[in-house]
Every structure is written in C-alpha cells, then in structure tokens.
Amino acid sequence: MTSVAATAPAHGAHHAPQSFWRKYIFSTDHKIIGIQFLFVSLFFLLVGGVLAMQMRWALGFPGKPMPGAGLLPETMATNGVILPEYYVQLVSMHGTFMVFFAIMPLLVGVYANFLIPLKIGAHDMAFPRINMASFWTALLAGLLMFTSFFVPEGAIRSGWTNYAPLSARPDLSGVTIGQQLWCISIVVLGLSSVMGSLNYITTIINHRAPGMTWFRMPLSVWALFITAILGVLALPVLQGAAILLLFDQTIGTHFFDPVAGGQALLWQHLFWFFGHPEVYILILPAMGMVSDMIANGSRKPIFGYHSMVFAIIAIGFLGWIVWGHHMFMSGMNPTLGSSFMISTLVIAVPSAVKVFNWLGTMWRGNLRFHVPMLNAVAFVAMFTIGGLSGVFMAATPVDMYIHDTQFIVAHIHYVLFGGSLFALFGAIPYWYPKMFGRMMDERVGKIHFWLTFVFYNLTFFPMHILGMGGQMRRLYDPTQYDFLKPQQPLNQFITISAFLLFASQLLFAVNFLWSLKRGKKAPLNPWEDNGLEWSLPSPAPHGNWDRAPTVYRGPYEFSAPEAGNRDYLPQHEKLPTDREPASATAPAAGH
C-alpha cells in the first residue's frame, strides 16, 4: 500500500447483488449485525426505562393511582395503584432487561460487532455465520424474557439476581412459568454471548491487518477483547446455575434448597462468580470507547497507553476474585469475606489509573467539545463517583450498614448510567456516520446531553442519602416505616427528576431516528480520527476493504509533528519514513 493522501481505499468486494432478506435481515455482515443489535437493544432500553418510571411512581407517590394504570390488569394494579406483587416484578425485570438486554448488547453486541473488524483491518469476523446466529439467539432470549410479563402470574419477583430458594419455590415466590422463562431465556442469552465472544477473541487474535500489532490496537478493541474473554468464561457458569435452578423449579431437585441438603449460598456463589465479571463486561467496552473519544476530543495521544492496556487486563484478571463482595451480608464464611474485601479494594487501583490517564489526556489538549466528547468527559466524572461509592461498599464493616439499601442503587446507577450509558450516548453519535452515512444533529445532541446530565444527577445522587438513611432496596412503600417517612420528600424529588430524565431521552430518540434519513450526509472522517474505520466510506461497504490495509503506527497520533499541518495522522497512511511491517509480505514465521 503506497497511498499517502486521505483518499478512500478500494471499495468493498464485488458480490452478486443480495436480496433484501440476505442483505438486511439474515445478514452475516458484522456491521449489519451490529446495527440489528442496536435497534433491538435500544428497544429493550426503552422497556427498562418504562419499567423504571412505574417503579419511581410507586416510590415517589405510594398508594396514589398511577396515570396510565388503567392499561394494567387487576393483578398488577387495583384502582390504578401498583400492587406490591407487581412492584417487585418491575424491580426484577428492570434490572434483568437493563443488564442483559440493553447495556450488555449495546456495548458488546453492537460495538464489538461493528468496530472490531473495522478497527483491526479485517474484512469481517472470523465466523460470520456464527455471528449471525448470535444475534438471532439474543433476540430470541429477549423475546422469551418479554413474554414472561404476559403469562399467568407474570414475571419473576425475586430481583434480577433471582436468589434461591425463593426463585426455586413457586409456592414461596408466587411465580411459576415466569421463573422458568427467566431461566430458559438466560441460558439462550448465554449461548448468544459465548458465540459472539468466541468470534471477537478469534478475530482479534488472528485477523489483525499487517502492522496492527497488539500495542497499536485502539483501546476500544483492547477493552472489547478482554470483555470477550470475561464473557466466554463467565456466561457458561450462569447457564449452568440457571439450568440447575430450572431443575429445582420443574423436576423437584433441591440443589439450592437447604431443606433437602442443598445450599442456598451455592446459588449466590455461582451467580456472582458470573455476576462480577458481568459488571466488568458492562464497563470495560465503555472505558475503551471513551478513551478513543477523549483522545480525539483532546487532539492528543492517550496519556499512558500501555498502562491503560495493563489496567484493562488487571481489571479483567482481578474481576474474577472479588465476587463475594456482593455477599457480605449473606452469612458467608467471614474469613472468605475478608479476602474478598481486600481484593475488592485492590481492584479500585487499575480503574483509578485509567481515570488519571483520561485526565492526563485532556490536560493541555486542544479540546473539542463535540457531543461524543461531552458525554465521554461526563463518563469520567460520573464513573469516578460510582467508583468512590464502590470503595465504601468494599469495606465490609461499612457494607454491613449500606448493603441492600438505596446507596447500592446509587452506586449501580452511577457506574451503569453515569458510566456505561453516557459512554453510549457518546459512542452512538460518534460511529453513527460510519453506520448510517449521516451525522446526528449536533445541537440537539448537546441539549440532550445537558438535560440528561442535570436530571441524571438530580435523580441518582440523592439515592446515596436515602440509602444512608436506611431505605432498603426493592421496597414497595417507604412510608410504611416511620423512620423512613422524613425522607419521603427526597423520594418525590427523585421521582420528578426521573420523569424529566426519561422525557429528555425523547430528544435522543428523535435525533437518532430523524437523522437516519434526514441527517447531514457524513464525510469520510467527520471527527478527524486516526482509526482504520475512518478510511472507509460512510457507511462502510460490505467486506470493508478489497485488500487488507497496512498499519504504520498507533491509533492516537494526534498533533504529531510528522503530520505536517494536520493535527491527526491515520494509522494506515504511509509516510516516507515508514517501513513496511514484516507481516505484510511473509506469512508469520516459525511454521
């Protein structure tokens, strides 16, 4: 490859024209699969949000009829007032949908699929048909979960963590089919996740373009790589546990029932052994994409690229040995608990390294506050708050007081909304041009950002205070306790902020949908970024490149002197001083 100027390399391969079905529905193209995940996951994000709005009504205005409750059957709301049985279903399914069917597929299903081959210079994933299967399996799992609302007794009532023996005993939980659907849906989702993850791992290891060495990969790809390793090893444990739970529910086994020799804590250990790597699956890709966006918005290389990589690896590694911090109050072995306290405190360190590196990247940078940058910077600040509350929780003596209170809920939402979702609000407009060939509206994006940022903090920060005041999780009516009554105004305040937060998302939805057809047509490289994907037309064609590009440098060469009067230097552009990588001409040595 001897091209120097920023012209588009040869377009995608010349395929016979495909039918609509093969091209857009049953596609094996990683970009289409990513877009399919995007639409489906945004739908489930909406579902999760609607569930949350109902929860907020019950918490803010307990006992009052909810607007729109006339649509709900009598089993869920009588005289418009949400029933306790329905409230716990809302809680359980909000968590389930948000974690499994919104955030995880948005970060991994969308961006691992869309970005990995583009950013490493591959034509597609290693196993395109398995990739297609992973989307359809995920969709099936989501639909199965969704139908649990419409079966007799409705959806699960035992929290998104579905602890046994409550979840194993329909006579205790009041839910039979809904529980089975949850277990089956999780097993199917696990299949999707494993299929996807093994694709991402194989593709990143084996299909990097010549010159794309490990330490020239963008941090978004590194993060997705480690995330995939976490996923491929953690999801099967959850699948096993869910199957055993299903057996307890259906054929009368007692794996988790202490009455007959089973162990209730066994479920918790199995679940959280999966569950903790899962939360790192939910944050690492966000961190990776934020790194890309901040470097771009600062027009500076990422500060401490290598330490960023090692921090991602450290988080991935340590994430396996901290799971017990979700169980400090379960009655688990206290010595074991202490070991988890220590490992949990340690895992704060690599995350902190990343925060400092993001700040170092921005320091004295030529800052461009485009919409992705705004959201990425908000990520850093909000994730830090979430991380700090995590340190409180890591200390077992403190956790004894705040476990299962709204303090935990605040932490969860600071890292998942303040973290993952803000990263997505940045990533979606950032890669939108490469997906759809158009730009999202910048002005609407900025208004959406500011409204979201303000209302988000007004909604979730006070939850720290509520939690320290003793308000428990999954609580139908806080005012039933005298000691919580003084905090009720805060609950109302949060509810109103939450409604305004939800309403603000309308701007994002309209921006997203409207721009599909009416957005400004996107140039090749609207953000003046260095990644390989920006060398392709917008939207990127099937097969990506005719011939794999050659990579000459890392992804963050912003404001490099060699670039002349430009402040960015794409990875694939060859300067007269660059040498060809060895792998461009010879097969890998040592065979």
Binding site: F127, A209, L238, G240, I251, Q263, S583
Partner: protein, 240 residues
C-alpha cells in the same frame, strides 16, 4: 475468507495478517469454545463437589446404586472412540480419503478417514446407547433425579442399609448424577450428530484432503474434550 489473498495452505493462519495464535481460525475458535465448556461443566461438577462436601450425612457408597463394571466398559468404549478419532485425523493428514485399502505384506487392511470416523461415530453412539439403557434401568429400580422413588427396590435397600445407600442424601445424589452425566451425554450426542453430518456432506464425497482437513481436526478436538470430561466424571461420580 473470500476476499483475502488466498493462501496456498488453508490450514495455516489467515494471511496477510499480524501473527496471532499461529493456527487457523476454526481451530482457535474451537479451543476458545472448549475453554467456555470447561466453565459450564465447572458449574455442574463444582455443584456436585460443593454439595457433597457440605452434607453431614453419608453419601452413597460407590457401586451400591450405579453399575461400575458396565460403566467401566462404557468408559473404555469412549476412549476407543477417542483413539479412532485421532486415527481418523492422522489418516486424512496422510491423505487417506478411502475406507479400507489392502496393504501388500500385511494381513490387516489400512483404514482411511471413512473407516476411522465411522468407528468413532459407532463407538460414540454405543456409549450414548449404553447410558440410555443404564438410565432406564436406574429409574426402573427407583433412582431418579430427586432421589429414591418411594416404594421402589432401591428405596427398600436404602431403608435397610442407610449408610451404604446414602439414604439421607439420596436426593442430592440423584440430582447431581443425572445433571452431570445427562449434560455430558448431551455433549456426546451433539458430537455424534455433528460427525454424522460431516460424514455425509464432506467425508463420503471426499471433500477433505491432506491440504484441508480442518473440519476433522476441529471436531476431533471437541470429541477428545468430551472424552476428557468423561474421564474426570467417571472417576468422581462412579468410583469415589
């Protein structure tokens, strides 16, 4: 890969590309899948170990309920199928696409891919068959996933000799036994079905050659893994 500059040897890593795992992608993919399958079996086998360590009452003694000699034979059968699988792999690596071929000077004919893979499939199917028969007999005698069925033969034995039959932990014994061996059997069945599919669509029409037998190597890895898991299972479920 349809677009990449074609390599002469499909069993090498993709080219042009940075050095990766050093093996072609389907092989790497299968190894990653096997790593995830280890974690799946960890959940099931781990549950068994954890629950068994956790009970205070005695567990059933080996051989009391389960038929150890029959299962030992079954284990031998699966090991044989693993050997025939690797012989199939070696055969196609040498380009032997045929079924059997006479070799001058030797009484036994030389087996090719078609022969050895068929042996593997038959042994695998036989393993599943024996397991199914064993299951039927066990359930008939009263050993179920929820323990000793009331009024059954085994329930009587358990009442007479609580220690030998682990009467108090019969429920967990049954649950863990059937979940572990059941899912293992499911894995074997999937393997046999996949092999049958490959046999019919690729092996019989002689689509594999010494230059490209990736499918055989990949299914072989899966098959050996399934054997490996059984080696562990046989020991900790039947013998301990």
């Amino acid at each position: 890969m349809p677009h990449a500059t074609a390599t002469a040897d499909l069993m090498r890593p993709p080219f042009p590309a940075e050095p990766g795992a050093g093996v072609y992608s389907s092989k790497l993919g299968m190894w990653v899948f096997l790593a995830s399958d280890v974690m799946f079996f960890t959940a099931l086998i781990g549950t068994y170990i954890i629950l068994r360590f956790g009970v205070t009452e005695p567990w059933a003694q080996p051989g009391a309920v389960l038929n150890v000699p029959l299962t030992a034979f079954n284990t031998f059968l699966l090991i044989c199928s693993s050997v025939s699988m690797v012989k199939a792999y070696a055969a196609i690596a040498d380009g032997k696409k045929y079924f059997l071929r006479a070799v001058p000077g030797k009484t036994l004919r030389d087996g090719g891919l078609k022969f050895w893979l068929l042996v593997t499939m038959i042994c695998g199917a036989a393993f599943v068959g024996v397991q199914v028969v064993e299951y039927i007999k066990l359930v008939g005698h009263g050993f179920t996933p929820t323990g000793y069925r009331e009024g059954s033969l085994l329930a009587e034995h358990a009442a007479a000799n609580a220690v030998r039959y682990g009467a108090a932990t019969g429920g967990l014994y049954g649950s863990t036994f059937f979940s572990m061996t059941g899912f293992h059997g499911f894995h074997v069945t999937c393997g046999v079905i996949s092999m049958t599919y490959l046999y019919v669509t690729k092996v019989l029409p002689e689509k594999y050659s010494a230059q490209d037998y990736r499918g055989i190597e990949v299914i072989g890895l899966y098959w050996h893994f399934v054997d490996l898991v059984w080696i562990i299972l046989f020991t900790i479920v039947y013998l301990i």
